[in-house]
Symmetry: C4
Subunit: 415 residues, 4 copies
């Protein structure tokens, strides 16, 4: 330690080339045996100082430890945000290696809307196609958009006569609708076009992506894969309806493949690539994941508790809560303050349980919401600061941009 | 740089006339090659120091960058608030040019209630008239406030006999009410007076306003224009009911002109001109606009997703969710925790989707609400600080009010 | 200014007996013509410094003005809290003047539970009596708690025969209940006791209170007065039921006097006198009153707007929203996310308006709630700090308790 | 005081070995008779300084008192968190005394999942058993999971013939279900196993616990005891059904013992021992307990007030709110914005009361929720800081780990 200090023999004192204000803190440590950090001082400076004077971290007083860690939390947040926004940079690194290749250009064009104007335009077109295909998925289920080709009685007679195993449920209007109507030909064709477009786009991206493993691990791509597989399954089964009508398994697969259409909407999250604000939203959800999960567990346990309570509280009431399970939806709906009103307590003990349940729900949900909201505000502010700082740096006069070291050396050389 | 420093040859040192505490920061930069800013120090001072010592902004350590930008965020907020409250000042500039003209006086009288007491009184009267006209618009639709002049059977016979195209829907009590009753004469006259008053007021403001383009771009004035046009359209069509009864287009326009009456209420927002608190409320909504829009997109995408999920989850249930569209209102109503209970899941998979939907809604809505609430608190506090500071300055003794420079010079001259 | 400085002629410098760190700020003002305040420095010190150096407040840079005012906001908050908790102190001042008098002792006994243990005990008894009387008011309305003395047919026959003007509505079970049943004699007597107790208590407090005007202006006492008057009115009218049955005015007054029983519950707020936490709750509501009122206006205007929109959006739907007024409850219920489900939009345009309404409501309500929550947290923390500080001062060794000045003088004299 | 200072006779000044920056504050006290604390400075340093200079705490200016107490609040929070997480440490102390004994090992194994890997595994198994037993409790109430052994008519005939006192209510399907069906034998056996397991586990823990009193006072153990007793009661009564059918008391106890099954779920809170995040959640609920209770009182008083108001407001409406009590659930359901819609105001005055009630509820609930959310964020951040600091200390090089004093001495000795 003392080697760092210059000893000015004549004048009779050691000279430590350290920040005098921080030395105050160090001196206080020797006075009180505790390091107290002024809240203004950046923790990283203190850390360097402690290391220089070989003071262990335990020397920091308990009341100042959070303060000391502040800068690390800040750096961590910044790192997380930069990581979330840095897809470009990592791919730009790839650019250096394979700038000449077409693959990389296509990859950036398809995946990174912020890298070039055509990519941005393509992304908007892509999103419009997704919105259109999602609207199509909605229209599939509307009676007005479908054309009847057979009436229900004929259908049932035919299927019965043919000895098929899977029948249409005459009492379920939704089932009847799907069985007796078909899409008009134009919409059918459009849906096939989407099928081809999405499959092609997926395979092109798979081919040109820099890292196949990263690509296949990304949950958006997994969704894409599931969606494509389900669309092709549906396509194949539609060519072979007899199979669907004979085998329950095939019918179930056919139903599931219809259900998967919903996933089309998830593609719209591609819009998140274009807006930093939305990336922050995702990031803050991801960061709070563990806390959310644990809050969810608490929420479920407590709602299960109330489900059970309400069952026994309403036991004397014949018309409500036939089993504990029916109390489960009620307690979730009450605790989230949705309150549909399809089931509600009718007896006095049940009403009391209901009131307690509603208040408990508000209090328990306040906590995860507080975490989410705090994290989001925090990340959002930091994100804005980072981009503002970048702008400020870019707008400052260029001749000034000599690295700190250079400035330092020049300055000292001038002395 | 060194030119700024005075060299005291005899004593052998350079004298930089800079803040010694900030110099500590600069020295640290030469020690560690990083600028760490104590949180207490105002960023603008640091900025000046960095410029003086020609240290680029990149030299600021990552953990201290937000801290450094703090002062800019603050200045930005203050600028926004001042801009939102500064209508006077910009128009006062107009005052200088045309103080003699009547136009400006009328403009201030009509538009800026805070400039004079008569203007304030006029504004209150104006708001009362608006409230009265809005109440009138409500009363239009009440059965008790209207007088029957014909019964529905006669009306249908007459219109059928006359060969009109547009018939009254006998099963819709609201349609019947509007067709068979008229307003009593006194209320009818009052409504005409409002029509004249609002039109006159609009044209006077248009004539006297300092900048026609600004005036026509203001959304409140656009609303006023739409409202006036629709009121006159209605007036003209009422004089010529035969046209309305023969042409579907005319009937539709007539209906729309009725609907536009709702816009009367928007005029009440003139009250915002009188209360700074309400201007802050508007300002914080405007500032958070982009974030709100993106949150809204997320919200819509996720509610569309759940609308689709619930449709397939409830497919086996005949009585609920006839199409995906009907699931859309349900998912919005669930995610905002309104929960009317007109539609709700009945099957077990549907109930599970419902529970997840309610919890997702709470979490997603927590984020835009956090932004709005934070912005509002922030702006509100600043607004109060600005007006408090103004009061403080005004209440301090007048003789002290010499500009800083003068004080400085005098002080140094005295030395 | 220079008179304050001592001129050390020999050494050749002026000596200003001022804080050296703050002098840095002052010097910066002469360098940059702006005062920047380090966030750590207490604003009141800066104020003194500015006054000493005769620098006007305008010299404070815009980015540091909020920071400068911080200490004033803090002092204001503390003053408000102390004022809210200081009833004692003001009455203690009264104690000095009239310590011998019984009046003051009774006043403190009745009104200030925190001044002595018997007062605390009395307050708890008082609250129990109030709770009992409130429960009685609830029981009044229960069928099981009343005794029938006449059946409804006889009653109507009798009243018709007697030629009374006010009849019981046979179709309204609540009206029938009140007309055909009476309270059992024990409960009736108990209610009379409460009447006497509350009236006596009110007059005793009125007689012994230090300031009659303050007493009569207090809203809790106004409520008490209304309650007592209504209780006596009811008592008088019950002795003379024939009058009630003949005059509509008397019947209406009788009804109102029943309704006023609800106010009994307000007396429970006396519990607020015993818990500082609850006083803070009231205080923060009172402080945010103006903001709440303006938010309420915004809320009402926007819900009226949506009430009108929904009426026209649902015009084609025969069964919903017969008039704009019926839309008003719907829009309030939707915007607060209560969502009873008694009325809800059924047509597609109505559903869209409904969704927008729900989201608008959440956003608009987020703002007043943010104010309330922030104010409450703030006041609550301060309240806890104040009482903690008091404890700390009281627990510190007594011999140290010499006033600052004395210490200062002693210290300097020792020099 | 002056004894602490060294008097350097020759040079003519006193030397106080104190922090020079804090001395500034002290000097200011002698100038202004008030201590102003820079926000950056840690309060504990200031406290020491004030004690050294014998300045009473009252000398601290009012605007700086909260700031001064900051460090105490921080220390308190840290202490609370450490206490909540320190079960280990207190039991580790026990380890020292009785390390050889089996008891302690078993205690740590059963109670502290974070102390060893087998304990963690056991805890997970335990939780799985609890979840299974809780699911069993749910399944008890499902019709599908039970086997009918008698039909309802036979049952009633038999019980009537046998002259039993307790009959099954034929109109209550839940009662009929429980009376006419039994559990299948396998599930019955499983339930008996749980009974044995939980009883054994309870007694083992009771035997090995270090402090019996602490153990019996813990509310989780009280719940366990209640649960075990109720399970054994049920077991005994099931062996003797004739008693249940003859005595109303026995039937009631039997019913209660069923109801207590719900408490099984509470055992899942053992999961809280494994996750620090969940302990923080509990801690923040516990810390805010007093405030929550008082908010709850306010909430109940105001909902009772609205219950009464709505009764009188809806008096003319025959179909709603038959008594004030029925208004109580309505007002709680409205104020928490649940809004089932089973009861809602129908008359105009009732609707107005309803709107006010909803808005009041939102405002009143905002305050306790703000406390909970703030406390939780605060504790959560601190908890993360504490564990981060621990990691940082552990990861710093070991040779540095000499205690502060030693370092200090060494350093000074070297001088």
């Amino acid at each position: 330690m003392w080697k760092c200090a210059k000893f000015y023999a004549l004048r009779g004192f050691y000279f430590f080339d350290r920040n005098p204000e921080l030395f105050n803190i160090i001196l206080d440590f020797y006075r009180n045996n505790e390091v107290h950090i002024p809240s203004g001082t950046c923790g990283s400076l203190v850390e360097k100082e402690l290391e220089f004077w070989k003071i262990p971290f335990e020397g920091i007083a308990e009341c100042c430890r959070s303060r000391f860690l502040n800068f690390e939390n800040e750096l961590e947040t910044i790192k997380k945000i930069k990581h979330a926004f840095d897809m470009h940079n990592t791919t730009e690194l790839g650019v250096v290696e394979a700038k000449q290749s077409w693959f990389n250009w296509i990859w950036l064009f398809l995946e990174e809307p912020l890298t070039s104007t055509p990519a941005k335009v393509y992304n908007i077109i892509y999103i419009l196609v997704v919105v259109l295909s999602a609207i199509m998925a909605f229209l599939f289920t509307c009676e007005e958009m479908r054309e009847q080709y057979i009436d229900i009685d004929t259908l049932i007679n035919v299927t019965t006569a043919a000895g098929f195993n899977v029948y249409t449920d005459r009492n379920n209007p939704k089932d009847v609708l799907h069985a007796t109507t078909i899409l008009p030909i134009c919409r059918y064709t459009l849906d096939r076009c989407f099928l081809v477009f999405f499959t092609l786009e997926y395979f092109i991206r798979l081919i040109v992506c820099p890292s196949k493993i990263e690509f296949l691990k990304n949950w958006l791509n997994i969704m894409d894969l599931i969606l494509n597989v389900s669309m092709w399954t549906r396509f194949c089964l539609e060519l072979n309806m007899t199979l669907v009508m004979n085998s329950y398994t095939a019918a179930w697969i056919f139903g599931m493949s219809y259900c998967m259409i919903s996933l089309r909407l998830i593609r719209i999250f591609r819009i998140y690539k274009q807006y930093l604000e939305l990336r922050v939203l995702l990031l803050s959800l991801k960061t709070s994941f563990k806390e959310l999960l644990l809050s969810l567990v608490t929420f479920i346990v407590i709602s299960a508790l109330f489900a059970n309570f309400i069952y026994y509280a309403e036991f004397q009431e014949p018309s409500t809560f036939p089993s504990s399970f029916s109390g489960l939806l009620w307690s979730v709906v009450t605790m989230t303050t949705v309150g549909y009103g399809d089931v509600y307590p009718k007896s006095t003990p049940g009403k009391i349980v209901g009131c307690i349940c509603a208040i408990c729900g508000l209090l328990i949900l306040a906590m995860p919401i507080a975490i989410i909201a705090t994290n989001f505000s925090n990340y959002y502010q930091k994100m804005k600061d980072i981009s503002k700082f970048k702008k400020k740096v870019n707008s400052s006069p260029k001749q000034n941009r000599i690295s700190g070291n250079a400035v330092g050396n020049k300055a000292f050389n001038n002395c």
